[in-house]
Symmetry: C2
Subunit: 382 residues, 2 copies
């Protein structure tokens, strides 16, 4: 049905009406007092979301812009970094680091398997000369629906004493607990079209004092993503370049809604939806792609043995107006992914499971009795 | 009055209701067929606006992101470039080029004075070893309201035979004639919050075949702004990273409105508004900042001798809800700027002149009889 699509992909995520109305307002001057008030307010709200006293800066760009900014502002040509790679976004960190001439040691795991904190610990312990300048990883690996143990890996980095810890929290922030200061994370990159509940186009970067110290030494060339100019202008509640003014309107509205819901409620809602989605999928006789116990609170990837995932997605979209995500790269056709991130309620989760179940029935591919999935999901949503 | 502000700054510019409504729609998946159709359509529309057969790529970022992309994709470390600098945005090109280790020769003019094409010709003629890899300049210098003679400078670059010509057309594209192919421009950077009539957050970059050839040789490090990945994905009507989906909705709506108006009508409307604004300002006894005959079709800067420009702007905003731009850097307080770019009609120009005149009267600073300005403007709008 036209204009009735529900997004259950890991981004863009659904946007509340209040936020869309804010987005569609007439722009104002980005150097005006009125806009400065918005920058001041959203900066405070972003600190609340990151659970940090550090600066959280807003960049007009995709999440990858914030990831790149994290690398080029804290490191120098030839620096050694340790990258975790167990999916498309871990892989992207490796690519960015290599593009800027860093020496990259990769800790690789199969897609679907979480990063092993002990492997990080071992390499960090062996690095007695303190050659490793940064440990870089993805918290919630969007391509596989795996959540990596950022807290534990961060504790090993703290023991190392020299390396920074840099994390892509694009699909974890606003979905589960990411207490930046408590965990000692030095740099967090994220994007607007995720837990933030606004359309894509803004990205965010938070830096610890140690990260700012490293920034002073960094020799990688930069201009648009030079965070020093963002920090300077942020002190005056402004931006170095014309920012995406209307997305700032949306950001303020969305973060205000999030504050009203409260961090703990947001986290438990996402945890409940993960549990309900996993239960429904299993009850249908389908296989979860992520290793048991390591599913992301933002997204559940399903490996539907002997079923063409793209065919299933097509029916779910055409018949039920629900957009699921497909598999990326070598997983295309082999995996589908259910986003339950951001502005998602119990109804969305229940209907997604129901739509998947009904579509499998249409395809004559249902392994269990019709209704088993939705029953299991409903039970978890009680 | 609340929410009744009219923007007459050089960006963000006013946004049509149709475009705001498109902006405020629910986002869709950026890898969907529906979104591919929008990318395909807007790409064609962008070629129409640039009057080119070359690729025009869309970047999620501010105009400066496109400027930086222009440099880091076509040049290599140590390359010599010739930069025109007669205002804040010319200055920015110099800064970007230096940030990436280029050898920059600057042709400087006072703010308010146009770049002298003969100076470019002389240096290019003397460069018999063809050391100059690119000539870089700003077409419409937003900080001073000066339009530089891009066509003539480009003809000198054509005679050189080797150097690329790279132009910031941020406030000229969609305001006056910029026929990329006819003038032989190799690279044009622009931003959404200008002639495009949409809010900030997207930027655009068009590259000639020669620019793409140079791209293959360029060794400057890049990832987010690596145009090769934009070109590859554009071939499939897609983007390398999650784009600002809602701004794409707005872009399509705005470019469709522009097509309906027609390029020639858009250009003559801007020319008429420039003439009407200049006439009104002069009739009030105020001084134009840009050298006579070199005023930008997008913006008129006024140097109101012995009048505090910030005080005047404040009254115009508070009393008449019209936002004028102030002077930048050393011109703060000494200059104000009237934007007449994008979604601006005769009423806007007439009322801006009237509001300035009435505010000067309030300040007891009116040099001529009240009404002289608006009379002169009205005459030009006939």
């Amino acid at each position: 049905m036209q204009d009735k699509l529900t997004l259950m992909i890991p981004g863009p995520t659904p946007v509340p009406e209040k936020v869309l109305l804010a987005l569609g307002k007439h722009p104002i001057g980005h150097r005006s007092k009125e806009f400065q008030a918005i920058v001041r307010h959203t900066s405070k709200q972003l600190q609340w979301l990151h659970q940090t006293k550090c600066d959280v800066l807003t960049i007009t760009g995709s999440g990858t812009a914030a990831m790149e900014a994290g690398i080029i502002n804290t490191l120098s040509r030839g620096d050694k970094v340790l990258c975790g790679d167990n999916g498309k976004f871990g892989e992207r960190w490796v690519k960015v680091a290599k593009a800027f001439g860093l020496e990259v040691e990769v800790i690789k795991e199969e897609w679907g398997t979480p990063l092993n904190p002990e492997k990080f610990q071992k390499i960090l312990l062996e690095d007695t000369n303190k050659q490793i300048k940064a440990v870089i990883l993805t918290h919630s690996e969007t391509s596989t629906g795996v959540i990596n143990d950022l807290q534990r890996i961060s504790s090993h980095v703290q023991s190392h004493g020299k390396a920074l810890i840099i994390a892509d929290c694009v699909t974890s922030l606003g979905a589960c607990n990411v207490p930046m200061d408590e965990w000692g994370i030095d740099l967090i990159a994220s994007g607007s079209q995720k837990g933030y509940m606004i359309p894509p186009g803004l990205s965010f970067i938070a830096l610890s004092d140690r990260a700012w110290e490293a920034q002073k030494q960094s020799d990688l060339p930069k201009f648009y993503l030079d965070l020093n100019s963002y920090r300077k202008t942020a002190a005056n509640n402004s931006n170095p370049f014309t920012p995406s003014v209307n997305l700032y309107f949306a950001l303020e509205a969305a973060l205000t809604m999030m504050e009203e819901e409260g961090l703990q409620s947001i986290f438990s809602r996402h945890a409940r939806h993960r549990a309900a989605t996993q239960a429904g999928i299993k009850a249908m006789g389908l296989t979860l792609f992520a290793e048991e116990g390591h599913g992301s609170p933002a997204i559940t990837a399903v490996a539907p043995d002997n079923i063409d995932a793209e065919q299933l997605r097509k029916i779910v979209k055409e018949k039920f107006d629900i957009l699921l995500a497909g598999g990326q790269d070598h997983l295309k056709g082999k995996v589908f992914r259910i986003g339950h991130l951001g502005f998602v309620n119990d109804r969305d989760v229940l209907t997604a499971i129901g739509a998947i179940e009904a579509s499998l029935q249409t395809l004559n591919l249902l392994k269990k009795e019709m209704g088993a999935g939705i029953a299991a999901t409903a039970k978890m949503l009680k």
